[in-house]
């Protein structure tokens, strides 16, 4: 065969091998979406808009907290309804329970957000945006934003730990399966000791155009012997709402000190400018 054809074959092979060899390491770069990309988003189930978990309003009495909302996961089927700890982590749990006195409050009293999955269970709305390769959840409580990458990228092997984790999502029919890893040690609303290998999986699914279900399951190869289900949270759509600002620290009079003692700062009443 003529010499130049060998070069073409070699060049073609190099083009194939080059990108593949570095595919795992090269970060996904933002590519300007095409009309076709936007059209594809338009064909996905419509999670866009503002949603909130109904609290069953109109209750007389205590004006804080809420009755449990949503449907708990079915028992005896699928993941366990209570965390099943490995021996090592069961021992840690015992240590935690025995160590010092139970704190009266957690870091949210100091305006730190709780982290995933508690951040998805607040009595404030969330807003979902869908763009090519990305589902973004804007959370009104503590003004949090979650980026769920749906561009095919893999979960990171060694993510920096964070409050809400690093998330990727893929479609399973009409269900968006979101996996998140890389969690630092903050309350999160999780009532057992977890390792840095914990993964939180959420399944987003519309049961009708105005009802968004998010089922949450936790797996942890070091702490749990089987997946642990947090059940289903049911969000209702609010077409007339917009997400409001929430700067927790602007007039925070609550605090919890390092020993876990909670308090209120009543100094300078009326000092708040708003």
């Amino acid at each position: 065969m003529p010499h130049h054809r060998h070069i073409y074959r070699f060049a073609a092979a190099a083009l194939l091998i080059g990108p593949l060899a570095f595919a795992q390491d090269a970060p996904k770069k933002y590519k300007a979406p095409t009309v076709a990309d936007w059209t594809a988003v338009g064909k996905l189930p419509d999670f866009t808009g503002v949603w909130e978990i109904p609290m069953g309003g109109g209750r007389a009495g205590a004006g804080r907290g809420a009755a449990p909302a949503g449907v708990p996961a079915g028992r005896g089927r699928g993941p366990a309804p209570q965390p099943q700890l490995t021996p090592e982590y069961a021992a840690k749990a015992k240590e935690m329970a025995a160590a010092a006195t139970r704190a009266e409050d957690n870091q949210t009293a100091n305006c730190l957000p709780p982290g995933l999955p508690a951040i998805m269970g607040q009595p404030y709305p969330v807003e979902v945006l869908m763009t090519p390769g990305l589902v973004t959840v804007v959370i009104e409580a503590y003004t949090q934003v979650r980026h769920i990458h749906t561009d095919g990228r893999a979960l990171p092997d060694d993510p920096d730990p964070s409050f809400n984790g690093t998330s990727v999502g893929h479609w399973d029919g009409d269900t968006l399966v979101v996996e998140s890893v890389g969690f630092e040690s903050v309350p999160r609303g999780i009532n057992f000791p977890y390792s840095d290998k914990m993964k939180i999986t959420e399944r987003f699914h519309l049961s009708d155009p105005d009802t968004l279900n998010i089922e949450t399951t936790i797996t942890d190869p070091l702490a749990l012997t089987q997946p642990y289900s947090l059940g289903n949270r049911v969000f209702k759509r609010h077409r007339a709402w917009t997400i409001a600002e929430y700067v927790c620290e602007e007039n925070n009079r609550n605090f919890v000190d390092p020993s876990g003692k909670a308090g209120i700062n009543l100094a300078n009443p009326t000092a708040s400018p708003k």
């Binding site: 978990i53 609290m55 309003g57 109109g58 209750r59 205590a62 004006g63 804080r64 809420a66 449990p68 949503g70 708990p72 309804p81 935690m96 160590a99 010092a100 704190a103 009266e104 409050d105 957690n106 949210t108 009293a109 305006c111 709780p114 269970g121 607040q122 009595p123 404030y124 040690s185 903050v186 309350p187 609303g189 999780i190 009532n191 089922e215 947090l230 059940g231 949270r233 609010h238 007339a240 709402w241 409001a244 929430y246 927790c248 602007e250 007039n251 925070n252 009079r253 609550n254 919890v256 390092p258 020993s259 909670a262 308090g263 209120i264 009543l266 009443p269 009326t270 708040s272 708003k274």
Partner: protein
């Protein structure tokens, strides 16, 4: 952060999670500092209504049994929450007369958590009322 703080944070069992299910977490923080076993009614004049996060605060000038005026603070729900349930930042104004039922602070400070309010004309003010704009 130091070890004792870590132990405290990790040892917090379900403060922000109700039972074991995926229920709605407590708004902002727990109510442990308030006495949930009793209520107290404080009657006075609104000094100021702080309409800001994380909690609104109703400051009331209350005349005590000795005829002295004391300032009481009532912690309320977030303005984000209230705006969707019929409240505005001027629902309470300085000078408004008000009787507020509160869960008092366990430590006896002049503060409590809003349970309900009542104006002299009988209007009842709830902070956890029905959502006004259901859509």
């Amino acid at each position: 952060m130091n070890k004792p703080m870590q132990a405290v944070i990790r040892g917090l069992v379900a403060v922000s999670l109700v039972a074991g299910g995926a229920s709605v977490a407590m708004a902002h923080h727990s109510a442990a500092i308030f006495d949930a076993s009793q209520t107290k009614v404080i009657t006075g004049t609104v000094k100021k209504f702080d309409y800001s996060n994380p909690h609104t605060w109703v400051w009331l000038d209350v005349t005590n049994d000795q005829g002295q005026v004391e300032t009481w603070g009532v912690e309320g729900m977030s303005p984000n929450f209230l705006n969707r349930r019929g409240w505005t930042r001027t629902t309470l104004k300085p000078g408004d007369k008000l009787s507020v039922t509160v869960r008092p602070m366990k430590d006896g400070q002049k503060a409590g958590m809003w349970v309900s309010g009542k104006r002299p004309d009988g209007e009842v003010l709830l902070m956890n009322g029905e959502i006004k704009d259901k859509e």
